[in-house]
């Protein structure tokens, strides 16, 4: 299976060259090319991708602004012509930093780093999938993201509540799950709760409601939650 990727690059010749490199690798499927952060964000917050090839300086917002606003964390390869951004690249935990123009060999080295990178908050297999497996009652149970309403902390255990009112209890923590679940679908709203952002029925003051379940929203997390809602 190919990795999906998006290119955010305002220089056409650089974007075309990146597409060519992706095609040549046969490992990547380019889902789109955007010349500014706003359009890219609009796409990325509606579509999950594995890898982001990201220029830094573009008209308007920068590539780092995009990373600040992204609801989930794909693997990121920065493409820029300014080596001064290397420090920021390190700060943002990007996988690699390609200085334009780069050779195909250097591009391949960046891809190798993607496969070699340890599992982390932007791990491809855990964050970009549409389901998870949890250990429950001595077996691995598949839960589709779309079926999960919310996840509640129970000390050293967590409870997954699904749309069919079933409850799955497994040994884990909210803190650990926060890094493992698909961040496009799930968001932490309280130290004891991760919820499916698509399942919210309504929000009142410091609580939200999902299928009759009242879930607290902490002051710290409320701005992030509101930012993710399609408020018109």
């Amino acid at each position: 299976m190919k990795w999906t990727c998006v290119i955010v690059e305002d220089l056409q010749v650089a974007a075309d060259y990146l597409v060519k490199c992706c095609e040549k690798s046969a490992l990547l499927q380019v889902k789109g090319h955007f010349t500014n952060v706003e359009e890219a964000l609009d796409y990325l917050n509606k579509n999950s991708v594995d890898i982001l090839f990201l220029d830094v300086e573009m008209p308007g917002a920068t590539g780092f602004d995009l990373l600040d606003q992204l609801a989930y964390y794909p693997k990121v390869i920065l493409t820029t012509s300014k080596s001064e951004y290397a420090y920021n690249a390190f700060e943002y935990n990007v996988t690699d930093f390609l200085k334009k123009p780069f050779t195909y060999q250097r591009f391949q080295e960046a891809l190798n780093k993607l496969t070699a990178a340890p599992a982390g908050e932007n791990n491809i297999s855990s964050t970009a999938t549409d389901h998870i497996f949890i250990k429950c009652d001595g077996k691995l149970v598949r839960l589709n993201n779309d079926d999960i309403l919310f996840i509640e902390s129970m000390g050293d255990y967590v409870k997954f509540v699904t749309a069919d009112s079933k409850k799955y209890i497994t040994h884990n923590t909210i803190k650990n799950l926060e890094e493992k679940v698909n961040r496009q679908t799930f968001i932490k709203v309280h130290r004891s709760y991760i919820i499916n952002i698509n399942k919210i029925d309504d929000i009142r003051e410091n609580d939200l409601f999902i299928k009759g379940n009242e879930i607290p929203v902490s002051k710290a997390h409320k701005p992030d939650v509101l930012k993710r809602l399609n408020i018109i």
Partner: protein, 134 residues
């Protein structure tokens, strides 16, 4: 890029770093032609952004515009022009007004115009070369 391996070798202008181009695209002359064509298609727009920013004394936009066009020259085998742009970008970083960089601006505009002529000339030669091979 796709290892075309033509037996006939294209002779680039002496101001173009052919080794650098081959390191990027091998001897895929069809693709090199595409790169030159794309570069030319966007060149005037990017050059105009530089001129407008300078004329309106917008140093921030001038820096952004030169930053954008900079890697273009690497893609067409002119890494020394890329370096000139990089130096100019650094000067813009320190400048507070267009007046601070008048002479550097005049020089770089000439360099960019000459580079465009060279890219256009090489593009025409490449087009002819590739059509003869096909």
């Amino acid at each position: 890029m796709s290892a075309a391996n033509f037996s006939k070798k294209f002779i680039f202008n002496e101001n173009i770093d052919a080794d650098y181009l081959y390191s990027l695209y091998e001897d895929d002359y069809q693709y090199i032609e595409e790169i030159f064509q794309t570069t030319l298609a966007h060149f005037n727009e990017d050059l105009n952004s530089i001129k407008t920013a300078y004329q309106t004394n917008n140093i921030s936009d001038l820096k952004k515009a030169i930053h954008k066009i900079k890697p273009t020259f690497g893609f067409v085998g002119l890494p020394f022009v890329q370096n000139i742009c990089n130096d100019f970008e650094d000067i813009c970083q320190k400048a507070t007004s267009s007046n601070d960089l008048t002479s550097e601006y005049q020089q770089i505009v000439v360099t960019l115009a000459e580079s465009k002529e060279l890219i256009a000339s090489e593009y025409n030669k490449l087009k002819e070369f590739n059509s003869n091979i096909l």
